[in-house]
């Protein structure tokens, strides 16, 4: 029977929980706001876009999903992707050389058809090709239509060179020449695209907060003119901090778990803050 999973596959490939290597694949979490227009920036948490006039949350979504990302086309072809953190610099962990990963996602365009190309690369940073190593694929292209469709692509995992500083596997869907919608992005080990692994908003938010966390308005009780602010989730690296100060001066910052402010003379010290540790 087509698309069935036999016992051998059950043990060879992951079909249990935590299959999806992509975070926020259902476009649920938008800590930075539900519309972004800066090329190269993150829109839905963990997903960056380039060359779109905007990347915005949209309720046009396939059955089983609440949201998609709408990529509004202006002049240049749009690119859209997510950097997947490796377990350590130069270490590919579960992405074993020679094995297969399968990408799946749902997409559609506003009008006509749109040929797109998908690539995955081990990279040092998300927009740098230095020491890049490409995953290989025989079906990396697709043509999107005006109907929500699930597309799948399989890739063979390459070997990271010794002594490289690669920190991520960069997924990138490019050559998007029209306004498009995408959701349900999943990358999993094995040759089969299994059903999308839905995770709760709380789970996805916590996974996203390893890389970026934005507070609501907060009250901070000072002690001796200083106050500590603790993150909900330990960050990937020491994060950059942006603060909106009610009173006092932000100071910093030698920890992945917290930052502190100094020069405070009242309880209401920091109105809000952002911690950025994105790849």
């Amino acid at each position: 029977m087509a698309n069935s999973i036999d016992l051998a596959t059950l043990f060879r490939e992951q079909i249990g929980g935590r299959r999806n290597l992509i975070i926020n694949g259902a476009m649920q979490v938008w800590q930075r706001g539900t519309s972004q227009s800066v090329s190269g920036s993150y829109a839905a948490d963990r997903f960056w876009m380039a060359n779109a006039s905007s990347a915005a949350r949209d309720t046009d979504a396939p059955s089983g999903f609440t949201y998609s990302t709408k990529l509004t086309h202006s002049a240049s072809d749009i690119a859209f992707g997510q950097p997947i953190e490796l377990p350590a610099t130069g270490k590919q962990g579960q992405l074993v050389s020679g094995q297969t990963v399968t990408l799946s996602y749902y997409a559609k365009v506003d009008e006509g058809t749109e040929p797109v190309t998908t690539v995955i690369n081990f990279r040092e940073s998300k927009f740098s090709g230095t020491n890049q190593v490409a995953f290989t694929s025989s079906n990396s292209s697709a043509t999107w239509t005006t109907t929500w469709t699930r597309y799948t692509h399989s890739f063979t995992i390459p070997t990271i060179p010794d002594n490289s500083n690669n920190t991520l596997a960069g997924l990138e869907i490019g050559n998007i020449g029209g306004t498009a919608y995408i959701t349900g992005v999943q990358l999993e080990l094995g040759e089969t695209a299994t059903p999308f692994e839905h995770r709760s908003y709380g789970e996805e938010l916590a996974l996203c907060q390893r890389y970026y966390e934005k507070s609501a308005n907060v009250f901070i009780r000072e002690a001796d003119g200083m106050a500590n602010v603790f993150f909900k989730v330990r960050k990937r690296s020491y994060p950059s901090i942006s603060v909106t100060i009610g009173s006092g001066t932000a100071s910093l910052l030698e920890y992945p778990d917290m930052f502190y402010v100094s020069g405070i003379n009242q309880y209401y010290a920091v109105e809000s803050w952002e911690a950025n540790s994105e790849l």
Binding site: S41, S125, L252, S262, G263, E278
Partner: protein
């Protein structure tokens, strides 16, 4: 990434330089001296390319001042 007004800053209680205070894409930001932080990596790239200068930190206050 647009970086302006970059300046090293000391920790609040010591004269150890712990971060760069800068305007990053229009937002006042404190960037740690961590090569794994992508903002720091980009700032250092701009410095090496001659596109950005980081002002030195203020002198720490002298005792009794």
């Amino acid at each position: 990434m647009e970086v302006t007004n970059a300046k090293y800053i000391n920790a609040a209680t010591t004269d150890k330089i712990v971060a760069i205070h800068a305007t990053v894409d229009g937002k006042e930001t404190f960037v740690p001296l961590d090569p794994a932080n992508t903002d720091y990596a980009e700032i250092m790239r701009q410095v090496e390319a001659g596109e950005l200068t980081i002002e030195p930190a203020d002198e720490p206050p002298t005792e009794g001042a």
